[in-house]
């Protein structure tokens, strides 16, 4: 039997999953990573992406829009919004992209002369768009 660790996925509104898992693939801000039992303690922020959880019964996937993960004795992912992948349909996905797009537009206006926040928002939007290809929905092409 493979080693397992405690995994919790919580969003502000509810707790989505709490189980013993073998590994979790996290869409970290600096790149994807896979957390396995006895991983070194780590805190990372998340980018929009797919969280892949491998339990002994199979894999479960969630779409997360941001938040952070804390790897200590177990793994807790605190997602801003997390939805089971199966529940994300084209309409829900497009709503998420639109939201990111609106945020990007707004940042662009507020921080006209500062590339930093604008780039961040653009990356967020690009990540959000990329999520579409990961979950098998046709990615929506926003006009930047």
């Amino acid at each position: 039997m493979a080693e397992t660790m405690q995994f919790d996925l919580v969003s502000p509104e509810r707790s989505l999953m709490s189980a013993q898992v073998k590994s979790v693939q996290i869409p970290g801000a600096d790149g994807d990573m896979t957390a396995m039992p006895n991983h070194a303690p780590l805190i990372t922020t998340l980018r929009p992406g797919v969280l892949k959880v491998e339990t002994e019964k199979g894999t479960e996937e969630f779409v997360v829009t941001g938040g952070f993960a804390e790897l200590g004795e177990g793994l807790s992912v605190l997602a801003e919004r997390a939805v089971p992948k199966a529940d994300v349909d084209q309409a829900a996905y497009e709503a998420m992209v639109d939201e990111a797009h609106a945020a990007y537009k707004q940042t662009k206006e507020t921080f006209k002369n500062e590339p930093g926040p604008v780039d961040d928002a653009a990356k967020l939007l690009a990540d959000m768009v990329a999520v579409g290809t990961h979950i098998g929905l046709s990615p929506k092409q926003p006009s930047l």
């Binding site: 919790d8 919580v10 969003s11 502000p12 509104e13 509810r14 707790s15 970290g28 801000a29 600096d30 070194a40 303690p41 780590l42 805190i43 990372t44 922020t45 938040g67 952070f68 804390e70 200590g72 004795e73 807790s76 605190l78 801003e80 919004r81």
Partner: protein, 293 residues
Amino acid sequence: MPSLKDLKTRIESVKSTRKITKAMQMVAAAKLRRAQDAAEMARPYTERFNAVMGALAASVGDSDSAPKLLSGTGKDDVQLLVVMTAERGLCGGFNANIAKLAKQKAAELKAKGKTVKILTVGKKGRDAMKRDFGSLFIGHIDLSDVKRIGYADAQGIAKDILGRFDAGEFDVATIFYAKFVNVVSQIPTAQQVIPAAFDAPEEGDAASNTLYDYEPDEEAILADLLPRGVATQIFAALLENGASEQGARMSAMDNATRNAGEMIEKLTIEYNRSRQAVITNELIEIISGAEAL
């Protein structure tokens, strides 16, 4: 002495009042259930969030580069009070208690010579504060269209507050809400959100001894998380408030129903008495009429 008909109408009207308060109590009880569930669901997130933030804040600590949201602006001259109340009344002292606490604090700060600004969330608090502190209002957030409070609502409020903070409109922000203890007791609470105050992890706590790696780096994470922390605290406060409101309404309506019942009893006795008096009167008239013959 009211006439029989007057009494009868009054009894009827108190009866229909009782029906309404009873219905409101039952609705509040059902809503309370949901509000409590929502508050419970949000708790793990808030707890973990605070634990991580506590560890992070302790490690970044008082370094000069610490974000302003954590270390503050170094002043406390301009204070923002965010008063969160319900959109509706008929819930006992709920709104009044929160407003009272906020008023006390505002008066106290003013006496110390600080500038006070007030942002209200919820109509009732706005009405309650208007007379004494209306000139200090800088904004109002209306949640009357919101049926179930979602994280997005809290984010909206947080965004508003953070925008004002970035614009340098205030130095310290405190939120006012009622903490839900149980149906009969809700404690009005003041909580400082900016600069963020996290409980430092206790000594010997497992989490505090862990040395975390940070990805990207501590400060980037902190800069990302602090605004979220504000939203999270506001969200938790909104949920507590929601549960408190329904709890307060439930007990207030329970009292009202009971009072109405007592009143009906009293009125019924009075009604019966006067009815008896009328009958006696008539009898006397008949008898004395018969005797005169």
